[in-house]
Symmetry: C3
Subunit: 306 residues, 3 copies
């Protein structure tokens, strides 16, 4: 990649994405061969919000490359509670680590952090903004299952607050993909994302119901209605429980439809779907390791070259 | 061991137990020789309840075998707070780790988890249920100090809620051991455990006072009255403070009586006992490392063979 | 060093300090050469209070020496919550680790812990008491920037509650240093520390304003007014915001004045100072790694010799 940091999916060209995905496939084919690729590298984990899979898969990824992590810990047990600014925190941690992974509740936090430090910064989620390493593993999962060309994808659920959706939709504009967005009116894709997609010439359609479009889809990407993103509990209750998938729903789907979900799910996908060939979400979660290994390999190798 | 998972002490035969204990003794004799035994292995730590010694000793054990850990963190900083099911969490984490250690407040949680994942699951405590790796280190400590045959052991304190007691009592039925259970009436061993012991032909007696039986004991295993297991604070207050051990109590004991405790203790054993030859509880805690190294060695080696 | 533990800066002779600082300089010059110096060493992290930089830099330090850590986690997720004493906790953890790093809210905690365990204990802050590894990195930063002889240093801010100040002031008595203490009357250096300094023949002066002394200083060491140390919120409000540094303040300073701060800062130093040559606080934070590597190297090497 041409960049030193990974802040947004929008910074990634098709060639960038394919380079990471090809490297991830190499790693996936023979993980043990990469066990010393970045021995002694220290990855700084700065998570200002809860995380399980993103944090654990970055943690595992650097360790499977021979490196290790140093973890800021939760906000409650860190200097942040003493009133330290984000700019100060990341400038301190860059002294300990060879690269930083940052999750923060404020949109733009990773971009700001990257302006203050010299080591690579990876945005692991900034509020309702971006989550580009999630996008890379989503793209990898799509490519491994149904390919990234001549693809029809449905993206459903919380399109307003779901940062994984925003990153994915923008990255997909690099490929020959028809994007169908399915959500209640109140959770439509934000105007800014829609504008960017149209500017990129993306093939986009919006729907309020899954039924009409389901049979045409190669991938159905379901997202959680994130309670914590709602300023208003009533608004949450109104849409929670809609847009759920079960085996009955999927009777109308193509046999090889891949159902994806960034996880965690609450009740968007019925557990009965787990046993079907459609279920691709656990494989998707597991792809976090080879894809993040590939990403770290790129960013840390660049670092060495400087 | 014949098993892929370690869920309950009841699944362990005498041969299984002796295999792990022999391996632990080998490791204890020359720990440095095991420093690369499982290089690059990643152990997933899923602790849904607080833990110090179990978590730290598993963490240390895998690291002293050349491996490393990836830690789910506290429940508050994980996806669990977003409403994710245990089955989903463990299926995600199995993609990152070569084996899982699980502690959970619900009895049966580890058994359920093991049904969902392919990597070995170690039960590190499921509510008032089982805690079998604690049992292995308890057995190792007993064997190293007084041997496991022709043994008289007193198990005292909270026998109703103490999961370490349930696991230990059942494992001891594999050996020639007389088990004396000493507790207030309200904290007797649960009916189900008593039934299992009698079915196994165990030599069991119950007491409400230590005095009569103390002189005959080779081991006195003291447990904490666990406040957090009591539904009712009054019930707790009534028994707290009873069944305490001090140097005066021990005057009636055999010279080589080993006093054990799974720790943490509050006031069940007076600190003055620490300086006596009876005190075996810190050695017991330290044995967590070689015993868990041995256990991990067995489970991870089986994994490789598959 | 002659000691097995590092509890207080007062235990360090000039020769001790110079030995660690020289070793840190060696490490700084070629960190990669130390990557296997303490392979397999396990450092136990026992932080009973929040920490970012101390914990992360010890964590990074042992890892850059080839070792690893095992972390007690926060007090809320540990046995401490179950009522375990500090003496018990450290005696358990010493069974897992080759050395312990301890932070605790009670003054004297590390000294007490060291009496109970055989592995080296490093005091990483005990209430308003000592924080000697911070002192070593402070001294290293001063030596690298302006030298430790014929030095004028101003130490400003919260001199009453700031443990880094107490440790630093006492260590500086080993060198030819003029110490100027600048604080409001209510935050003066405690009587005990002043007494110790006078006993050591230190060259000490106290001021309530920076203005008069600033032009003479080689180093200005600014500390945070720590809200959490104040028993009374009104008292805090009265002094908060005083003793702030900005670029205008520094116009009267020598060109090569080094401004230091143990961090985190809240508003004691204006961010505009970050871009000036005076700003030495991020370098100071980063020096935590080589200095703690040097410290660990000494303590762990002694351990091996025993």
């Amino acid at each position: 990649m041409r960049q030193d940091h990974l802040i947004s999916a929008t910074q990634l060209s098709r060639a960038d994405i394919e380079a990471v995905l090809d490297r991830a496939a190499e790693i996936d084919a023979d993980p043990a061969a990469w066990g010393d690729a970045h021995g002694r590298a220290v990855l700084g984990l700065c998570f200002f919000e809860p995380s399980t899979r993103t944090k654990m898969s970055f943690d595992t990824a650097i360790k499977r490359l021979g490196g290790t992590t140093t973890d800021m810990g939760s906000v409650d047990s860190s200097s942040v509670k003493k009133g330290e600014s984000l700019a100060d925190t990341v400038r301190v941690v860059e002294g300990y680590a060879d690269a930083l992974v940052l999750r923060h509740p404020s949109e733009g936090a990773a971009k700001m952090a990257a302006e203050f430090v010299d080591v690579p910064v990876i945005n692991a989620g900034d509020g309702a903004g971006q989550h580009p390493s999630q996008t890379l593993l989503d793209l990898y999962t799509i490519r491994e299952n149904v390919g990234l060309d001549d693809l029809s994808i449905g993206i459903m659920g919380d399109l307003k607050y779901g940062r994984t959706v925003h990153s994915l939709a923008e990255a997909l504009t690099n490929f020959d993909v028809r994007q169908h967005f399915i959500s209640p009116e109140s959770l439509r894709l934000p105007r800014g994302v829609r504008f960017d997609l149209h500017q990129s010439g993306a093939q986009v359609r919006e729907h309020t119901e899954l039924e009409g479009v389901l049979p045409d889809l190669d991938v159905l990407y379901v997202t959680r209605i994130q309670r914590e993103r709602f300023p208003d509990e009533n608004e949450y209750e109104k849409v929670a429980g809609e847009y759920q998938i079960d085996t009955k729903t999927l009777e109308a789907a193509a046999d090889d439809l891949a159902v994806m979900h960034p996880l965690p799910r609450v009740d968007e996908i019925d557990p009965a779907v787990d046993g079907t060939d459609h279920a691709t979400y656990f494989e998707q979660a597991h792809n976090g390791v080879p894809v993040r290994m590939a990403l770290l390999d790129y960013l840390l190798s660049e670092e060495v070259d400087q």
